[in-house]
């Protein structure tokens, strides 16, 4: 570019001096999950604060450290998306102490260790997926309690399911909350879990959901498998039962979605940029939980009876006031 | 002036680096058998492929029945009633005879279902009409070459060809089959068809054709009337020098037995009994010719002898060559490498299929099967390219292999030169037993002369030589004794002075004394 930086769209504030980069994990921007959401938050911040877009999609694990380094060389704030980048963030952040880093779903972990290390320039952005999972689990369980007579689409077997991708921490936290709170609400409920070991092969997730529905008469399916999981939503629609979306409000994705477990990655990214711009970057950001509005459930559809929604709200309140602790490990 | 069926004027065709046809003219009269002759690579096939539309000429003009025509593809040629039997059969092995014949012109047309019955009827009618019996439902891959040849002719006739091009049709035929074929061709001419006939065999030309056109290095070097010429003149025209049509040789001076074969049995690829008790001995310094109609176990015999096929019974022993130690060595169950090691060299019948790796260079082919020998590698493991190249260079010179250098891929050599590569490799390995299968198949007279001389040299150097050939002329010219095979057995071993008739009788499985 020329020396005269009179670029047309960046003229609003002095804030155009900030530069922010986003490094996705191997899922890429099209993952229909946290990379995608992070990019949405990033875009929002970009529009507001007027920095230039600096995004790298990693193609495999060996790219993480390279891409973070490259990003750190050109940006003041670098977002690393995904817990798989934990070690790489530690490595790069120690090399660039004057640059700020934020990592979604993780923290800086020195190679060879498994505990987080606290670095002054790394903000770990954690989400209490289990709390979001809990709320949608409560809704599902209450609907099962209400039963077929009230909600004719149900199969009447008091069975719900989760179609999960791979067994990784964020996924398992969702499942943990879902199962735990479903049992809280409805002791006898049967919660099925299937891992498809895939976040992309839509057909596989659809089949897994169909199997739950047709074999076990599950009638509310929580998808927890990114792009693959869209197939599970579709299975529910096809069989005339219900589904629950994940990460974002997926009611637009499929008609069968009654609500979604929401994880506001976009908000967290946006908020972090905002803090950074305002000079308030912290290496100890709040846990993005229910209390901080980091997770939650999306507006329910009209298929959800009022008592189910009420149940969710009741649990939400308990969680917020601390009287209910949702485990992050899947209960037996 | 007789009417012309085909006239080709000023045909030029260049391939990268080679001019195949250089202003060639050819005139073929209606109703004649016109022979096209020339060395390997003279451009005969190219010229005929141009006439058949497989190759487009760079320039030149084609007239069919005195009418200038454009032949852009075989479809055009077929429309002009030109049929061609290619040097290499254009058949599809897994399909049946009927399918092969009607292919491209199926009864019912393209859009219809394939009608087995109608195709079969078509073939039956054709074979009756022209006296060429064949089973329409047989798969091509199960047919003998002779029958495949017949299918090719029927294919052309089915497309109602009036002008029939035959590119080296006798190259792989037995004498009997050749004789039959000639009968058929004469019959076709009587029905008003015109035949263009390519062959390397002078005798056949003199026997069959009316007129002869000779090509040399892409040029038309003469047109002869068969009645008025002789073998020597044709050969001279073809090669451009005098050719010895018969190799001189001294009577053999056989030494001790080298190879002894006792009661050998083996199965063919299809699991049939191909050898049913073959026994013979081969002496140092003699050539034993194996004659017989193809498919009577000759191929299997050679394969068993050279270690590429397992014998099911019987014994092959080889003398150790050691004067003091007279114990023989049993080589029945050795593999091909081991057989080579004990001193057996092998010129295979299918040079392109198994004797050479076409994509590889001459030098690489010169060590095929012997790469572990000290000349080519250190301790059988690390190749010595310098020595390999030097060796190849020497052999190329010694055996007159014509190619730019030792790194030329053998694919770019002519058939004759490819054969010389194999001959060079095998003959130079200082074997004690030399087995040559169809050593001159498809090569021109110049090369035949050369190869024959080399074989006799080997004999005179005291090697035991086994020659298998479908060419009676060749067998007769080379052999000191002739073994005739029939249905997996050696019917008799006779001297080369027996008459053609007598050999013919042996080849049908009768012994001479029985017949007389």
């Amino acid at each position: 570019g020329g020396g005269n930086t009179s670029s047309s769209n960046n003229t609003n504030t002095g804030a155009s001096k900030v530069s922010v980069a986003l490094v996705t994990d191997k899922g890429g921007l099209n993952d229909q999950s946290f990379n995608h959401l992070a990019f949405q938050g990033y875009t929002k911040a970009m529009n507001e604060f007027g920095f230039t877009k600096q995004v790298i999609e990693s193609k495999n694990e060996s790219d993480y450290i390279k891409n973070l380094t490259t990003a750190a060389q050109g940006a003041d704030l670098v977002f690393a998306v995904g817990f798989l980048m934990q070690q790489a963030v530690y490595e790069v952040a120690t090399q660039f102490p004057d640059k700020k880093f934020a990592i979604i779903d993780g923290c800086a972990v020195p190679a060879g260790k498994s505990e987080c290390a606290t670095l002054p320039n790394v903000a770990p952005l954690y989400f209490s997926e289990q709390e979001a999972g809990c709320l949608v689990g409560a809704i599902a369980a209450q609907m099962e309690l209400d039963g077929k007579s009230k909600i004719p689409e149900l199969r009447g077997k008091n069975t719900i399911g989760v179609v999960a991708g791979e067994s990784i921490p964020p996924v398992n936290r969702y499942i943990a909350g879902y199962k735990y709170c479903a049992k809280q609400v409805n002791e006898k409920i049967n919660v099925l879990v299937t891992y498809t070991q895939d976040f992309q092969a839509t057909a596989k997730c659809k089949d897994a959901a169909l199997s739950m529905i047709n074999q076990h008469q599950a009638d509310i399916i929580f998808q927890d498998a990114g792009g693959c999981g869209v197939g599970a939503l579709d299975a529910a629609e096809q069989e005339g039962v219900f589904s629950i979306g994940v990460d974002a409000d997926q009611s637009q994705v499929n008609k069968s979605v009654i609500t979604s477990a929401v994880k506001r990655v976009d908000t967290s990214v946006y908020a972090t940029v905002k803090d950074f711009v305002n000079g308030k970057f912290s290496n100890n950001p709040p846990l993005f939980d229910l209390a901080h509005d980091g997770v939650g459930y999306a507006p329910v559809s009209d298929k959800v009876p009022a008592d189910a929604k009420a149940k969710a709200d009741e649990l939400a309140k308990k969680i917020k006031d601390g009287s209910l602790k949702v485990p992050s490990e899947i209960p037996a | 002036m007789q009417e012309l069926a085909v006239e080709m004027r000023d045909i030029c065709k260049a391939w990268p680096g080679v001019i195949a046809n250089d202003h060639v003219n050819l005139a073929v009269r209606k109703g004649e058998i016109h022979a096209l002759m020339g060395e390997n690579g003279a451009g005969k096939s190219t010229l005929m492929n141009i006439l058949y539309g497989l190759i487009r000429p760079d320039s030149g003009e084609i007239l069919v029945n005195n009418e200038a025509v454009h032949i852009g593809s075989p479809r055009d040629a077929i429309r002009r009633r030109i049929g061609m039997v290619h040097q290499h059969f254009m058949l599809i092995p897994p399909l049946t005879v009927a399918e092969n014949i009607v292919l491209g012109h199926e009864p019912g047309g393209l859009a219809a279902g394939y009608n087995v019955r109608r195709a079969r009827d078509v073939v039956k009618k054709l074979s009756e009409q022209y006296g060429l019996p064949i089973d329409p439902d047989a798969r091509i891959e199960k047919l003998s070459v002779g029958l495949q040849q017949r299918v090719e002719i029927l294919k052309a006739l089915y497309r109602s060809a009036d002008i029939l091009i035959m590119d080296e049709p006798t190259g792989v035929l037995t004498p009997q089959e050749t004789h039959e074929l000639f009968g058929v061709l004469r019959g076709l001419v009587e029905q008003g068809k015109t035949i263009i006939f390519i062959t390397h065999k002078l005798r056949e030309v003199l026997e069959l054709s009316d007129r002869i056109t000779v090509l040399r290095r892409g040029r038309n070097v003469g047109e002869l009337i068969t009645r008025e010429t002789n073998q020597a003149e044709i050969a001279r025209l073809m090669v451009g020098r005098e050719v010895l049509l018969r190799v001189e040789k001294q009577p053999a001076t056989p030494g001790p037995d080298v190879l002894t074969v006792e009661n050998l049995h083996a199965r063919s690829d299809r699991g049939l009994e191909a050898l049913r008790g073959v026994s013979f001995t081969l002496k140092a310094g003699e050539i034993l010719g194996v004659a017989g109609v193809e498919g009577n176990g000759q191929s299997e015999l050679v394969e068993v002898l050279t270690g590429t096929r397992k014998a099911t019974a019987g014994r092959i022993t080889m003398s150790t060559g050691d004067k003091e130690n007279k114990r023989d060595r049993d080589i029945t169950s050795l593999n091909a490498q081991q057989v080579r090691k004990v001193g057996v060299a092998h010129v295979p019948e299918d040079r392109r299929g198994s004797g050479l790796v076409l994509a590889d260079s001459i030098e690489e082919n010169m060590m095929l099967g012997r790469e572990g020998w000290p000349r080519f590698s250190r301790s059988g493991w690390v190749l010595r390219w310098r020595s390999i190249a030097a060796w190849a260079r020497r052999l190329m010179q010694e055996f007159d292999v014509r190619a730019p250098n030792t790194k030329t891929p053998v694919r770019a050599l002519s058939g004759g030169n490819q054969q010389k590569v194999i001959i060079a490799r095998e003959f130079s390995s200082d074997p004690r037993v030399l087995i040559a299968s169809q050593p001159t198949r498809g090569v021109d007279i110049g090369a035949i002369e050369f190869i024959h001389r080399r074989i006799i040299e080997q004999r005179d150097a005291g090697k035991a030589v086994l020659v298998v050939s479908a060419e009676l002329d060749e067998i007769r010219a080379l052999s000191d004794r002739i073994a005739v095979m029939y249905e997996g057995r050696i019917v008799d071993i006779v001297s080369p002075d027996v008459s053609d008739e007598e050999l013919g009788i042996l080849m049908t499985g009768c012994r001479l004394e029985e017949a007389s």
């Binding site: 600096q54 999609e57 490259t70 | 076409l358 095929l368 190749l383 891929p409």
Partner: protein, 430 residues
Amino acid sequence: MAVPTAPSRTKGSSGPDESPSALLLILQKLRNSLGRPLIAVVLAIVLGGIMIIVTSKGTLDERFTAALTAYDALFFGAFGTLQNFSSTLDNMIPLILCGLSVSIAFRAGLFNIGAEGQLAMGAMTAGILGLTCSSWPGWLLIPVMILGGVLAGAIWGGLVGFLKAWRGAHEVVTTIMLNWIAFFFTDFLISGPFKAPQLSNQTQSMPVQVRLPRLAVFYNQTLGTFLPPIERPEQYFVDVSFLIAILVLVFYWFITARTTFGYQTKVVGQNPRAAEYAGISVKRNMVLAMALAGGFAGLAGALALMGRFPYQLIASVFRSDSTGFDAIGVSLLGHSTSIGVFLASLLFGALRSGGQIMQLRAGVPGDLSYIIQALILFSVATEFLPILARKFTRRNPFQRKLAVAGPAARPVTKEPPQAAEEKSARSKEE
């Protein structure tokens, strides 16, 4: 399914008009082997540029600038700084090794789609050894891990050769299936028995003594004690396994060009019937070649584990890694020769590292580098150049050929070549 056969040593040298001068020969060879791919690369880049122009926004001028910016970034990202270049080199390591894996199989006439699975098994085995013998000293454990990786890959690859030799099971099917089996099996081990406590889907990092140092660090510790040392060596990502990859390239060259084994596998690959005639065991060579192929890929796995941050095995990594497929392109682009594989790896490695910088700096999705990769493969594969050249000279080929095969060339074509008969055999070979 036919497998493209390995080229013969004779590739560059053809035509009677060749001068015997060694230097000229080399130059000509270089032109023949490099010229075409180079033009292919240029063409691919032009097409990719058109793609950017079509899909970006703004006036034509802006679009054009966008394309230029993108390529500037691409090139910069691959070669622009020493650091970027080191990333390119780092990307090359598995590409070289897996490229050789595909190549050796090609030479034996086998199509190895299974490099990725063999790589996974190699990495897994090395990892298991590293984790279970973590108290061993580095000088012992490093070779043991590498050997273990090679061996595991060799077994996984050899199995393919064995199934083919024993039952005729087509290697394309078995390699695809074994890939997935390897992916799920390693995932099972990584997220099961060997999972690091408190981490998920990952094993512990390998013990410190087996982590291969970065090349720059290594240099500083060795040559750098005499020569000027490199500052901040840790930011150059390529590690010493690059040297190992180069050694393996030399090894491959030696095996294929200098040993009877290499010669025999080539014969087996090009003409199994000739191999039979020559007494070369087709089955044995098939198994050996596949085992060697697996060994190369297994080595790639072990080295990636030991040489790359974070020195641990992560579940589902192998499945989403495209190295095994890129390697097929590398191998074919490089004509299965060691130099070719090296250059093709350089190209692919550069596109990989450049592509990400391109996305970062020019905002063009990094996937464009995949599109360019595909375009390069296409234009190399189609060999459109000779065909265009022929079309171009078609106007008067006869005169031209005369010049080529003119009087001077007569001696070598004295027995003029001929063809029709060979055509089917020949085309089969190609």
